[in-house]
């Protein structure tokens, strides 16, 4: 207690405390400051002038420092009669046997004697005013205490008006709540903070500010003030907004481009793409990045893609190639891929931008065009028809490949009018000049023929069909086709030749058949007559005439002459058109007579004749000559059908049979048959196509047969030949004629 009195008499403030922080003793001087607070040292707790939370922090700090065991200083706000004083406590431990037994300390009033409020305000004011941005100074409780000049200028208000900032529109209403929350939170924890909010400028515009909260602490770490610099970020905010907007616009543009955009990293990895590319593949970006392995690139194009794309990635050269990509529906479409590198200021590639343009339709059109050109060329080649055009405005002459071929000119040669003219004869030159003169001025069609001379001098006939008119550019143009008709002409000439030969042959043949028949039939008896006459003469002029032989020869001459006359009569009847007289006829006789007329022809053509005559046939009633015409016609047809038979014997069988009440005559051959049209309409067809020869066709034969109440038909044979038959009713009255 002695010590206590000593201490009480000291002019300074001293105290002692236990290591756990409880106050043990305060001298009178210290107790005097807090005189109005009864018995506080006894409770062992500093009578702090602070809100409870803050007080707890201070006490915690107090104990923490004590526990460190080292001399320390700290400031504490203490309640007193005038309000509060800030005491700076300087503490030293008293150790006994190495352990701290007590703390002794001295307190200095740092409020009253050492801090001059006026001077201090000015100091702050000066510091704060020197900052070129608006600064607000607030108390730890958050009340505005001061503002620097830039702040007053910005807001255009007085300090008093601004102290009421929470109730005015100084802070943008949308930002107020957030600002207050942040501030409250920061003041509670005492930490630096940073908030963006809009503040009303004197001209009525809100501008974005970055508001900082900087706590000003005393030596003990107690927050004395908050400084709030307001940093105008309106412009950068706008710039940022503009950037976002531009980004959005770019995105819009990129998504709006009628093509797919791909963005690659410098090493070729896909890092972005527009909506189109996602829509096309219906795959996420990371999957598209595997374009080389996941099958979206057409296998046939893969190598080109890898070479072109990776080549560009390595060299940094722009790429441009075409490939097929698999659409989500499983269809490959052609794309043109073009890419450019984006470089930074140093020239280093930072991005690759690739544009994928769908060229499938164009590609297909090209292919169609190519095919159609190829097929046109083929068609021109096959038809030996070339095309050409002559533009009068440019004097340009264009030829198709076939035209070059027709003119026999190398395709590398330039075409000139002179070159064309040099291949023509004088008539051709005149024709072409005339056409060009006329087509130069007016529209019209031209159709003419020229003779062209090839380099080797051989001639060609060409037909030219041309048309002149103004083209799309308004230039007069002559376009046309040129056809090599040489072979056509030759064929036509050959055909004409063949025709005339045919008609000659036909004429000669029909005449020939007639004359040959007549000649043969007549020449035989004539040969006999001449031989007999010669014999007769020689016998008679001999020294001893053989009268008997002479008589024989004379007799034979008479017989042969009669025979010849009969032949003539018979032939004349056959080939004349005199009215037919109906009589009872033996079909075998009728057939035999015809056969005898046709025999020489048949033999000459190496046709073997077989006759199968039914000798017990009843007679038929009919016109002999007409029926003979029918039979002759059937034989003639068979002879023609046998003409081309080479590998086997040519056979013709003439057959008569009795079939019920009918007599049937058939002519069968092993010839070429009916051909593709079959037997159905030969009786018509022959009438129109073979109305020459004997002057009767099968249709006439049918008419004759039907006039005899008969019928005529044809049937194919197994060996390819034909049997044509006609049947006539048997004659009941056997004694007719």
């Amino acid at each position: 207690m002695e010590l206590g009195r000593v201490l009480d008499t000291l002019p300074g403030m001293v105290f002692s405390a236990y290591p756990d922080g409880r106050i043990d003793f305060v001298n009178k001087c210290l107790a005097g400051i807090t005189g109005s607070i009864e018995g506080w040292p006894k409770r062992g707790v500093w009578p702090l002038a602070a809100p409870p939370g803050e007080a707890m922090d201070i006490l915690r700090n107090w104990r923490a420092k004590l526990s460190l065991g080292e001399p320390f200083e700290m400031a504490v706000p203490i309640r007193c009669k005038d309000g509060k004083v800030a005491l700076a406590l300087r503490c030293n431990p008293l150790r006994k046997c190495g352990k701290i037994a007590k703390w002794y300390g001295r307190a200095v009033d740092v409020t009253t004697p050492e801090i001059d409020p006026v001077r201090e305000d000015n100091y702050f004011q000066r510091v704060v005013d020197s900052i070129p941005v608006p600064v607000a100074v607030t108390t730890p409780a958050g009340d505005v205490e001061g503002l620097n000049q830039p702040a007053l200028d910005y807001f255009g208000m007085s300090l008093e008006e601004l102290q009421d900032w929470k109730a005015t529109k100084v802070v943008h209403p949308d930002d107020l709540g957030r600002t207050m929350n942040d501030q409250l939170e920061a003041h509670k924890t005492g930490t630096f903070y940073n908030v963006e909010s809009r503040h009303l400028r004197s001209d009525g515009a809100y501008r974005w500010h970055n508001v900082l909260g900087l706590p000003l602490r005393d030596v003990d770490g107690t927050i004395l003030r908050w400084f709030h610099p307001l940093i105008d970020i309106e412009d950068s905010k706008n710039a940022q907004k503009a950037l976002v907007e531009r980004e959005r616009e770019s995105r819009f543009i990129i998504d709006g481009i009628a093509g797919m955009i791909a963005i690659f990293s410098p090493d070729g990895a896909l890092i972005g793409g527009n909506q189109q590319i996602l829509d096309y593949f219906q795959l996420p970006l990371n999957e598209l990045n595997n374009w080389a392995t996941n099958g979206i690139t057409h296998p046939d194009d893969l190598q080109v893609c890898m070479d072109s794309f990776m080549g560009s990635i390595i060299t940094g050269e722009p790429y441009d190639y075409e490939t097929r990509f698999l659409r989500s529906d499983g269809v490959y479409r052609w794309f043109q891929l073009r890419g450019l590198p984006l470089r930074d200021a140093e020239g280093t590639i930072v991005r690759w931008y690739g544009l994928l343009t769908d060229i499938d339709d164009r590609k297909r059109a090209e292919e169609r065009q190519r095919r159609s050109e190829a097929s046109l060329a083929d068609a021109q080649r096959l038809s030996k028809t070339g095309s050409f055009s002559l533009n009068f405005a440019t004097n340009e002459i264009l030829w198709s490949a076939e035209t070059y071929r027709i003119f026999d000119v190398e395709t590398s040669m330039p075409i000139t009018m002179e070159a064309i003219m040099s291949r023509l004869d004088s008539a051709g030159v005149a024709t072409v000049r005339d056409v060009i003169n006329r087509s130069r001025e007016t529209s019209g069609d031209f159709d003419y023929e020229l003779r062209l001379f090839a380099r080797d001098g051989s001639a060609k006939n060409v037909r030219v069909l041309a048309h002149s008119e103004r083209n799309a550019e308004g230039q007069q143009e002559l376009t046309g086709a040129i056809q090599d008709v040489t072979e056509g002409r030759l064929a036509e000439e050959a055909l004409n030749e063949a025709r005339s030969q045919l008609s000659y042959v036909t004429r000669v043949t029909s005449l020939g058949v007639l004359t040959a028949s007549i000649a043969h039939e007549v020449n035989q008896p004539l040969a006999g007559i001449v031989a007999n006459a010669s014999t007769c003469l020689r016998v008679l002029v001999a020294d001893q005439p053989n009268i008997e032989l002479a008589k024989d020869t004379a007799r034979r001459m008479v017989r042969d002459a009669n025979r010849a006359a009969e032949v003539i009569v018979r032939l004349r009847a056959l080939f004349s058109r005199k009215p037919a007289s109906v009589e009872a006829l033996d079909m075998n006789d009728v057939a035999s007579e015809v056969l005898s007329l046709a025999l020489s022809d048949l033999q000459r053509r190496r046709v073997s004749i077989f006759t199968e005559f039914d000798r017990s046939l009843p007679p038929v009633s009919g016109a002999r000559v007409q029926l003979q015409q029918v039979i002759m016609n059937l034989i003639r047809n068979s002879i023609e059908a046998l003409e081309s038979v080479q590998q086997q014997p040519r056979r013709l069988t003439l057959r008569t049979t009795s079939l019920g009440d009918e007599i049937v005559l058939s002519v069968q051959d092993n010839g070429v048959g009916f051909g593709p049209t079959g037997p159905h309409n030969i009786f018509d067809a022959f009438y129109t196509t073979k109305n020459e020869g004997m002057g009767i066709g099968l249709s006439v034969s049918r008419t004759i047969v039907e006039n005899h109440s008969g019928r005529i038909w044809a049937s194919p044979e197994e060996d390819g030949g034909v049997t044509v038959s006609f049947a006539l009713p048997a004659c009941q009255a056997k004694n007719i004629g």
């Binding site: 040959a516 000649a519 043969h520 020449n523 035989q524 008896p525 004539l526 040969a527 006999g528 007559i529 001449v530 031989a531 007999n532 010669s534 014999t535 020689r538 016998v539 032989l549 024989d552 020869t553 034979r556 017989r559 042969d560 025979r563 025999l599 020489s600 033999q603 000459r604 004749i609």
Partner: protein, 122 residues
């Protein structure tokens, strides 16, 4: 006329010729036989002895040229004078080219016949 008559055979299917020609040939001094068909001639004993054949071209069965071929096949080289009622110069030419000595169109004169035979026997 001559010491030994040349043997001439006539083959023709036409009766008029077959009757008239042998008489004429005999009058002209040849030894003659007539046959109505090639087959008949080939079968006859006269065939090997025949020195000249007067042969009709168109006959039923074996024709004149076919007989010619058959004789060639048999190794018989008998000169042939063809006679035909079908006047066709082309055919005549073919027959001459085929080895015939002559070809006469019926009707032919005794002079023409004699010339042809003279050609054979000269």
């Amino acid at each position: 006329m001559v010491s030994e008559a040349r043997r001439v055979s006539v083959v023709d299917d036409d009766e008029s010729v077959r009757e008239a020609l042998p008489d004429l040939l005999r009058v002209l001094g040849f030894d003659t036989r007539a046959f109505s068909s090639a087959a008949e001639f080939l079968a006859s004993r006269w065939m090997p002895r025949t020195e000249c054949l007067v042969l009709d071209v168109a006959m039923p069965g074996m024709s004149g040229p076919e007989l010619q071929t058959e004789l060639k096949r048999l190794g018989r080289t008998i000169p042939i004078v063809f006679i035909t009622a079908h006047k066709d110069e082309n055919e005549r030419l073919l027959l001459i080219q085929g080895g015939a000595s002559a070809c006469l169109f019926k009707p032919f004169s005794d002079v023409a016949l004699l010339e042809a035979l003279d050609g054979v026997f000269s």
